[in-house]
Each structure stands twice: as structure tokens, then as C-alpha cells.
Symmetry: C2
Subunit: 224 residues, 2 copies
Amino acid sequence: MSTVLGAPIERRPLHEELADQLRRLIIEGDLRPGEKISEKLLCDQFAVSRTPLREALKILMTEGLVLLTPNRGASVTELTIDDLEELFPIIGALEALSGELACQSITDEEIESARDLQAEMVECYKRGDLHRYFEVNEAVHSLIVRASRNTTLAQMMRNASGRIRRARYMANLSKDRWTAAVAEHEAILSALSKRDASRLGPLLKTHIANKFAALREALLRDQQ
Amino acid sequence: MSTVLGAPIERRPLHEELADQLRRLIIEGDLRPGEKISEKLLCDQFAVSRTPLREALKILMTEGLVLLTPNRGASVTELTIDDLEELFPIIGALEALSGELACQSITDEEIESARDLQAEMVECYKRGDLHRYFEVNEAVHSLIVRASRNTTLAQMMRNASGRIRRARYMANLSKDRWTAAVAEHEAILSALSKRDASRLGPLLKTHIANKFAALREALLRDQQ
DNA sequence: ATTTCGCATTTTGAATACAAAAATTGAACG
DNA sequence: CGTTCAATTTTTGTATTCAAAATGCGAAAT
């Protein structure tokens, strides 16, 4: 037998693939909050039977993305301000924890990467590229979570973030908030570089709290 | 129509009922960590078809209680020391958060209940009733979480606690740890009574950290 | 004209059936 | 004896079927 083995062929179960696709559709906003999910329609769309689709819906229900009402089918969960009000402190606490843990185990290379990302974020800010900014911003937070070396935490945060990522499309943030956010990230990077856990934790917590305060304000303003 | 309405009749879906039953079996330890879950066997046991059972397994997988391996079926997730090491800081952070939030909205009546529970815990300690102590202890933590008025947080903590509750049966804690835990609870109640969030948060975090340290030590000792 | 009721249609819940993969058995061979 | 490999059995993944509940619609009644 050859020593060079082929990549392990992956035969992912349908329900897994479906859950991924649906999760993306919901988070990206292609399936709107409150929108009814017709089993038949989606089955036709994806060309699968109802069995794996229903299994996928159960997964998304547990993740908080889908609401299942007995005998009445599935719908995309609404995302009210109250929901955000509940979620943000949780994300803040977990984010702070991830930062504190990251300080214990982050490598020099990772700090270097974080620096690069920070630089790119500033670039995006300067040229007003909000879309790319969001991406890089996400990359920074994701790097910190990865550096925490806690896969359970990473999974929980992925889940919590997935629920609120939809809020992005719910309101436009102000330029002021953007400016403040960039400054906050500067401080975060600084604390991370020095592996100063006792400073990084609160910084992240505050950062998330501010993010929410701005979002909340924008939402309340928009809905009038 | 009468003003006295009947209670809403509940017809729970089978997969929900099954998920509850299985969750209990796993948490209580009737289904052991690592144990293989035969679909056919459980279907016969519960007298249901595979469809709702499989849906229930998907739910438990998302909750981290069940491991699904493609084409190879389900098994109860193992609970290694590494897993606990990942989970405890998370629970600590969430518990601290719940305490801080609780300080903002807990009622006098709830504080009174907490006092009663504390008194009963001391009683249990004095007469060496470990089983009942665990129950009351759980009730205290549950009360704090409820007083946080954050259902999302409550759900997350229920899930996280569910994963580790099984560890109870993995090792015997020392009398010393028990003594310390009772003292810690005394301090927690005191901070809660005064609604002192900045004191309660760290107390809870430390309490959870100590709990884990003791468990970890006991596990390492036992497994030799 | 509006409401109510009954019937047909659609949709969901659960069981069964079928296909594909893995596990098991056992016989042949060393 | 142990190993290998093919055939059988079991188990899992998916589709289909059947039953029950909800929805939609039109006729009858007020």
C-alpha cells in the first residue's frame, strides 16, 4: 500500500449538511426572522426527503435558530430587543473569559496575527469598508477564542454569536460607534500583546456591552 | 363562556418526551458515559419507532450529551477530566454573571427563600445527608439563575450543568471540601442579601473554581 | 353582509419500508 | 491455533407511507 494516503473521503450525513445549509441561510438572513419554514418547500428545494430535514430542524431548534411549534411546523426565531438584551451579557461574559484564558496560552505567532488583523481593521475603517471590517473584526474575536484552547467555549460562542449575527442586518450603526470600536480594539490588542488577563477581560466585556448599547439604540431609533 | 378556563391540554411531541427521558437517563447515570446507544433496543424499550428517537438523539447531540458517529450510531459522551477542565471555567463565568444580574432584580421574597435553603443546607451538612444537600445546593443555584431574569442564560446553564452533573457519580468529595463549600455558600448568601453584585460575582466564580479543584483532585486520586 | 359550520386540502407526526454501510460469522488457508 | 476473506446478519441512513391535526374554502344561516 502506498504511504501517501488520499484524503479521507467524507460522506457527511444529509441531516448534517442540511443543518449547515439552513444555519447559513438563517444567519445570512436569506431566511428572515419569523419566516415560516415549510418542510415540503425545503425538501423540494434541497431534493431530500422530510426525514433528514426534520432531524436538521431539531438541531437548529436546540441552537435557538428555529422555533418548533407542535403540529404547526417550524419558523425562524424572531430576534427581539429583549432577546438581544439577554444574549449580550452572556456573550460579554464568555468573551471576557476567552480573553483571560487566551492570555495564558496564546503564542507569539498568534499575537503577530492579531496585530496584522488589527492593522487591516484600521485600514477598513479609514477607507469606509464596513463589510470587510465586519469580517476582520470577526476574525479577531475568533482568534482570541481559538487561543483560549477551550473547544467547548468556542462552540458555545459560535452558537451565541450565530444567534445575534442576524442583528447586523437589523440596524445601521453610527460612525461614532465605529470610531469608538476601533479604539477599543486597539486597547484590546494591547492587553492581549502583554498577556494581561486582568485588563483584557474587562476590556472585552465593556467592548461587547458598548456594541450592544449602540445596537440597541439604533434599533429603537429605527423602529420608530 | 366561563371566566374560569381549563388548563391548556398538552400534547407533547414524542421526540420531546423521548429527549427528556434520555437526558434524565444520561444525567442520572443510568446510561453510562461511553455506552453505546442501540436504536433498536431503545425503540423496543420505549415502544416507539426510530423516527422520533433519532430526532431526540439529534437534540441530545447538540446538547453535548450524545456522540453521533456517522454510520456507526450513537453513544453517551465520555466525560474526561479535560472536558471538565473546559466546562468549569464556563460555568464559573456564567454563574458569576447570573449572580450579578440577580442582584439587580431579586425580590425580598426570593432572598428569604434563599435564606431558608441555606439553613436547610447547613442542617444537611450537620446530619451528613449528602444526597439532600446536593438537592438543596442545586436549588440555591437555580434560584439565583431564576432571579437573574435571563431565560437564555438559564437555559445555557441548565445545559452546561447537565453535562457535568454526571461527574457527581465519578468521585467522592472530601469532608473538608464539604465544610469549605458550606462556608462559601454562607458568604454567597450574604452578598446576595445585600445585593452586592461586585462581591457576589467573584464569590460565585471562586466557589465554582474550588468545586472543580476538589473534583479534579478526587478524580485523579480515584483513577490511580 | 358577516359569521359559522362542514368538508376538502394541506401540513405535520410517526411508523414502516427500503438501501447502504458496518459488524459478525464461519469456513478455508496458512 | 490464528488469519483472511467472503457471505450473512445487523444496524444505520433515507425515502415512503399512513394517520392525525391544522388550514382553507365555500355554502348555509342569521
